[in-house]
Amino acid sequence: MPGTSRQSRLHPDAGGSGSEYLTRVYRRHVKMVYRLCYSYLGNASDAEDATQSVFMKLMRSPRRFDDVEHEKAWLIVCAQNLCRDVLKSSYHAKTSVEGEQSVFDKAISDSGLQEKSDVEEAILRLPEKYKTCVYMYYYEGYRSHEIAQVLNVPDSTVRGYLSEARRLLKEYLGSGGR
């Protein structure tokens, strides 16, 4: 449960050495972090780099979480902040021109391994401030007040974000995606 006490104590699952614990954390949350990063950055290579950065940050400064939800909430917030930093960086603004695909994504698209669906395109088109709320609400199953606790924003704000994101997604999908 997110928003529980943030006292620093060992997670029940934190037995063994530090590397074993971090390995378990990685395997438990890597998909969530990657999807969130992908929803922000829009391509697999940047999402992989951001995911690695999030877990590297956890390894550099190991911290003890109360429970799995606490651990999950920290990773979500960390991934969100890191993706925002990447999007604000001059390097990303220079390399990712709107409408252009990276070489890696272009190769993937050309090989037919992965093709972005209309819904995925719609998610990527959402404003940044809605993306975390949409992911947590529609995929992770969090309630609005839980999202508010994780993101440290008012509940009404989360509900407003979700309402607006829902409207935009319906608009994108109803008009054929693009």
Partner: protein, 309 residues
């Protein structure tokens, strides 16, 4: 086309589910994380090792500095204690050192035959050789009592003479090629017998140019000796006037020195300088007569004594 909330929910869930990552991507990311962690750990270990080396070096220098400071403090305390203990005993803590150095210098000077002893050495020797001074005083006293020290007869009898310059003044001159007197710092201020003194040679007593006249300032002794800054002796004599003295020849006997017959010989000198009751005491007349240096007409007897012309 308008989609419902349920359809949107399902569509979004499926879309997120399809985003990945693949198992291959998960393994690749994990390998990268492990590699970066290993490199970072190595780098941190190197940094820590370097910092440890620096800390050890700094600690080593701190220890060396502390030990040096302790040694300096101990040396200071030791010197202070030594000074205090020596002061309590009333002696100069370094007198032994100075004495040794002064003795060495004096011996070197004597060995080189150099008649001039520097004032510093003389003063140091004077300060250090108290025993020597005492010994000299003893010799002087023995002479004063009529006991002539051995080895000093020749000097006094052969190289010195006292001549009358007239009008109550007397000169102590040296004869022949007698070397310049060795200034013994221990004799400063002491009264000694003429028999142990030798002065600079006088080339020609007849000319009178090198004659030294020494005035006696004191009234308690027959003569006195002091060493000036050049290390030369100054002799102060108190001799009775020729007319009254039984030991100094009168002007009638001054043939060999151009009318100034020297009084030489141990017996004459000793008689003049005798401190014993048997010898002729120093009379006020004699002191007054020697008071003016080179000026026989000045009877005051308080002129600048000891200035060598």
């Amino acid at each position: 086309m308008q989609i419902s909330d349920a359809e949107l929910y399902t569509a979004l869930y499926d879309a997120y589910d399809d985003m990945g990552p693949s198992d291959e991507a998960i393994s690749r990311m994990f390998a990268n994380i492990q590699q970066q962690t290993y490199q970072q750990t190595n780098q941190q270990a190197r940094i820590v090792s370097y910092q440890n080396v620096k800390r050890r070096s700094r600690m080593k220098w701190q220890i060396v500095g502390s030990v040096a400071a302790c040694l300096v403090v101990l040396a200071g305390v030791g010197a202070f204690v030594l000074t205090q203990s020596s002061s309590a005993q009333g002696g100069d803590p370094f007198s032994n050192v100075f004495s040794i150095v002064a003795n060495d210098l004096a011996q070197e000077e004597a060995a080189n035959g150099n008649g001039n002893v520097s004032a510093d050495n003389a003063n140091a020797n004077q300060a250090a050789n108290e025993n020597a001074a005492e010994g000299a005083n003893e010799n002087q006293a023995s002479e004063g009592n009529g006991d002539q020290p051995e080895g000093s007869d020749n000097t006094s009898t052969t190289n010195t003479a006292i001549v009358d310059t007239g009008a109550g003044e007397f000169e102590l001159v040296a004869k022949d090629d007698a070397s310049l007197a060795q200034a013994d710092p221990s004799l400063v201020g002491d009264e000694i017998a003429i028999g142990v003194i030798s002065l600079a040679p006088v080339e020609d007593v007849d000319t009178g140019s090198e004659c030294k006249v020494y005035n006696y300032n004191g009234a308690e002794a027959d003569f006195a000796v002091e060493v000036n800054t050049d290390g030369e002796l100054k002799l102060f004599l108190a001799i009775e006037k020729p007319a009254e003295s039984s030991t100094i020849n009168s002007s009638e006997d001054k043939g060999s020195y151009g009318g100034k017959e020297p009084i030489h010989g141990k017996d004459e000198t000793k008689t003049t300088s005798a401190g014993s009751g048997e010898a002729a005491p120093v009379s006020e007349t004699a002191s007054e007569g020697l008071g003016a240096e080179g000026n026989a007409s000045d009877p005051s007897g308080n002129s600048a004594s000891g200035s060598r012309e």
